[in-house]
């Protein structure tokens, strides 16, 4: 069967979504797919464009998995632009001279930033805010100047203003309309928004018509307004709207809308039956749509049309909730009350900076829309109420008033129908979430996110997820409790705080003051860990001995037959020939099985309890220290070869890895900590899969946090870039102590991170900007651990009381007769229970 030709013009977010859906439908069987991409990079997350200035790399913003298109057989013309559509001969001619035939053409050309025709707008220092390359130019320019102006006080303009502020510029926002965000919110909301933004140091100028941009020597120096006002500035960022890129369609004679955009019907068909249009370039029902949600829907409909389906576009929902400069802003449904007869209730609190407005139907039975500024936690429920057209409670104004005695609570999320959308970003309904919670027995928001993708977009529905989780778990008879166990009515975080602040140094004291009973195998090791993280006393002191978990109890890793394995520390994975020889000799002397671990060190197996001190005496004499493989503690900081030997390395990753490992060795934590340092972007040390990972750049190191391997691998998040070693270490001190203080028992950093409201941005606020004022404390807590480090095996060897615990039988020097070895390959292995039953070696007497 000959394939037909499908050409897609534009590889932005919507063009990419169209291709993904097409590939999911297996359509490459029927179609030769060719796509043009004007920018020099494939589709990336333009919604989160500003995060590029916060340190996210283009690769991280990219929506296209490496080789995704090539492997699927899609031809991509990167950096080439479709220039002419020849509808007669059904061909597309590109700027580089390519002529591509089509049977069906899909236009996803997006929009261009609208630059108002202000004289002087071509001066150096004037930018638009649309692409990664725009942002690169802005960043370069901002580094040399002090002041910046954003023209346009809408959604994108305020984001740009935030970006300029974070780059250290004195920032101004200039808006033509009498108020900010005129499209999404009303006068009342805009006033509150303005106050909050001004409180952050950004100057807001509304009702200003910019008539001229003045420059000297070609560079911007000031802007002038129609009312005679003047504003000095060295940079102008235009963010005054977008206009659809419909020039291809216009020139080809396709129907275009009055206000621009390629006219499409409810199936995304243009006025030419073989041409479809989707995304920002399309005009549907008389207007274009600047949000990605409608664009994604159009992509879905277009695929349906292409494959002979019957899906049609409905009315687009332009509801949105975002955080601009730290201020929550939400607008949903008919926010401006355009429907005749609709009535408004509004609440303004200029002191706290909160504005909430509801638009109600004339009979006050239904919620039609609303605006929330300053506090938008009820957005999810209000949006659901609007979409489900549920009947409102008798006093609907109570929905936005501060909770008073007898005030109406928001109709619980539990009362919503199954079809109600809870997460609008990922389009996940209540029924799907509840089903997942029940069938997979989920018990945390992190787990719900992982199972359903709800909450992984903007995160505004997370409070709703919490509510749903609590309801479902209550229904199943499970309590949502972070309490440690039956002995302590507190979470680990609370106990950690009490222990630290009250100077409690023993389990007995802690359970006496804050618990009941005698403890158990759940709380004792958890408390042991907290005591260690805070006071760093030897874990085998008599008062701590009985608290220790299996491996810490004997400072070795128990194996399936009750023998132990031994792992000396090899910082950074660097080992000398002398050390290798020593390890070999020690393994042979004590009859141990040896294996190299994934963490770049050597593990010796088959040690009997009473052998452990002898093995360690030899290891310590050879210069080795405990590797803490037995603890919920720092394991290794892996390294790649780095700049000393490797032709690609840009920093000395081995030295830094050794420095980090030696600093944090001995730190005990809620769970094990693994790390790595890579000497360049090739990432041979796999730092992105680590609790904390470091990747070298030309200028320093990038720091990544909260990655994990294991059953559910999760990549680390980029936290900060181009750090020098000392700054990075300062951030790590804070991060590690913050995790140690606040995580749940046995919670790895990835799970802890997934449950953090506010994600990586929150971590930056706490750990870099010191938003809760604890950084000095975190650093001094870490300093106490670092300064009090000593190798716990060396200390054990010097203490006859501790040494006496290392014996199999309290009343006999006999070795454990149940440990039996059989040869395997060049070494040996433990005999299985079945093999032992065959009486290969005499067992216990009956």
């Amino acid at each position: 069967m000959t394939k037909k030709n499908l050409v897609v013009v534009g590889n932005g977010m919507v063009g990419h979504r169209f291709l993904e859906l097409l590939l999911e439908h297996g359509e490459t069987e029927r179609w030769n797919v060719v796509t043009f991409c004007e920018e020099p990079r494939l589709a990336y997350d333009r919604v989160n464009l500003t995060s590029f200035l916060g340190g996210k790399s283009p690769a991280e913003l990219s929506l296209v998995a490496p080789r995704r298109y090539e492997d699927a057989g899609v031809t991509v013309h990167l950096g080439d632009r479709a220039a002419v559509i020849d509808r007669q001969r059904k061909r597309v001619l590109s700027a580089e001279g390519r002529g591509i035939p089509y049977d069906v053409l899909v236009l996803a050309t997006g929009s261009a930033p609208l630059v108002p025709p202000i004289p002087g707008r071509d001066a150096w220092g004037c930018f638009v805010y649309r692409t990664i390359d725009d942002l690169k130019r802005i960043r370069l320019w901002a580094a040399q100047i002090q002041t910046g102006v954003v023209i346009g006080g809408g959604l994108l303009g305020l984001e740009a203003a935030h970006a300029l502020t974070r780059m250290g510029l004195e920032t101004h926002v200039v808006e033509f309309a009498p108020r900010l965000m005129a499209m999404q919110i009303d006068e009342g909301g805009a006033q509150i928004l303005r106050c909050k933004i001004e409180a952050l140091g950004v100057s807001v100028h509304t009702g200003k018509n910019t008539t001229r941009i003045v420059s000297r020597g070609g560079r911007v120096t000031e802007i002038r307004f129609a009312d005679g006002g003047v504003l000095s500035t060295e940079m102008v960022v235009f963010s005054a709207g977008i206009s659809a890129r419909d020039e291809l369609a216009r020139n080809a004679g396709l129907e275009v809308g009055e206000r621009g955009g390629i006219v499409v019907d409810e199936r995304c068909r243009t006025s030419d039956p073989d041409i479809l249009a989707i995304g920002e370039c399309a005009s549907y029902r008389g207007r274009t749509y600047g949000l990605v949600g409608p664009g994604y829907q159009m992509a879905r409909i277009a695929v349906s049309t292409l494959t002979g389906g019957d899906d049609r576009l409905g009315v687009f929902d332009m509801s949105t909730k975002l955080k601009l400069m730290g201020v929550e802003v939400a607008s949903f449904g008919d926010a401006h009350g355009t429907q005749p007869g609709s009535r408004v209730v509004a609440f303004t609190d200029a002191i706290s900076g909160v504005y909430k407005k509801l638009v109600l139907s004339s009979d006050r039975q239904k919620l039609l829309g609303g605006v929330l500024v300053g506090e938008a936690s009820s957005y999810g429920q209000l949006l659901s109420l609007t979409q489900s057209r549920a009947a409102l409670p008798p006093r609907p104004e109570q929905l936005i008033l501060p909770r008073l005695e007898g005030g109406a609570a928001l109709p619980g999320v539990d009362g919503l129908p199954d079809g109600a959308t809870i997460c609008t970003c990922q389009n996940v309904g209540k029924g799907v979430i509840c089903k997942a919670i029940r069938s997979q027995e989920l018990t945390s928001v992190g787990a719900v996110k992982a199972a359903t993708t709800a909450g992984t977009g903007c995160g505004s529905c997370v409070p709703l997820l919490n509510e749903l989780l609590a309801c479902e778990m209550k229904r199943a008879g499970k309590k949502v409790s972070r309490n440690l166990c039956e002995h302590f009515p507190h979470s680990r975080q609370e106990l950690f705080h009490l222990l630290r602040v009250q100077g409690i140094r023993s389990f007995d004291e802690l359970i006496g003051k804050h618990g009941r009973g005698h403890g158990c195998e759940v709380c004792k090791p958890a408390v042991a860990s907290m005591l260690s993280s805070t006071w760093n006393e030897h874990v085998l002191e008599d008062r701590h001995l009985g608290l220790q978990d299996t491996n810490d109890r004997f400072l070795a890793n128990i194996q399936r037959d009750g023998s132990y394995s031994v792992v000396p520390r090899v910082p950074g994975g660097e080992i000398s020939p002398e050390q290798l020889i020593a390890l070999g000799w020690i393994a042979r002397k004590h009859g141990l099985y040896s294996k190299i671990t994934g963490a770049q060190r050597v593990d010796l197996f088959g040690a009997r309890l009473e052998q452990l001190p002898h093995i360690w005496r030899d290891l310590v004499a050879a210069g080795f220290e405990s590797g803490h493989a037995y603890g919920k503690a720092l394991r290794t900081v892996k390294s790649c070869v780095g700049s000393t030997w490797c032709r690609f390395g840009v920093q000395d990753s081995v030295s830094f890895a050794i420095r980090l490992e030696n600093r944090y060795k001995g730190l005990r934590a809620p769970h094990k900590l693994k790390s790595a340092v890579s000497g360049c972007a090739r990432e041979c040390a796999e730092a992105q899969g680590k609790d904390f990972g470091v990747i070298a750049t030309e200028k320093g190191y990038n720091l990544y946090l909260c990655g994990n391997g294991g059953m559910k691998p999760q990549h680390a998040q980029l936290f900060a870039i181009d750090l020098d070693e000392d700054t990075l270490i300062r951030y790590l001190d804070r991060f590690l102590m913050f995790y140690v203080r606040t995580a749940d028992r046995l919670q790895r950093t990835a799970a802890w991170f997934n449950n953090l409201e506010g994600g990586i941005e929150y971590l930056r606020q706490v750990l870099i900007e010191d938003s809760i004022g604890i950084c000095a404390e975190l650093e001094s807590d870490m300093a106490r651990i670092v300064d009090s480090y000593r190798c716990e095996w060396r200390a054990t060897l010097e203490d006859p009381v501790k040494l006496a615990r290392f014996r199999t039988f309290v009343n006999s020097p006999e070795p454990d007769p149940s440990l039996v070895r059989l040869p395997q390959r060049a070494q040996h292995r433990p005999a299985t229970w079945e093999e032992k039953q065959l009486n290969l070696v005499p067992q216990e007497a009956e």
């Binding site: 009973g517 158990c520 008599d542 009985g546 608290l547 299996t550 128990i558 039988f809 009343n811």
Partner: protein, 125 residues
Amino acid sequence: MTAIALELDGAPWEDVCALDDIVPWTGVCALIAGRQVAIVRAGDAVYALGNLDPFSKAYVLSRGVVGDRGGIPKIASPIFKQTFDLRTGQCLDNPAVRVPTHEVRIERGRILVRREPRPGDHDGA
């Protein structure tokens, strides 16, 4: 070191160690007539049970964390963490499993353990 055997009430017992040889709320293992027996201090009491963990088949129970569940003194196997009632050897997580127990006496600071386990069905060597 030879085993210190006694006869009490017409049955053989063994003097395994001093009470002070065991850190409170921990266990040690004694070799008694060829059997591995876990000797465990829980509060003021001392218990003795078979050292074999019936789930992992490793001789390790003496090394577990000691505590209580709703007042019942228990020890958890270090391998997979199943817990056992120290008084009866009953597994608290699986009603079908029980480990052998021995009588214990404390006299003049010494721990004495009856050689033979208490009669009854149990999962032990």
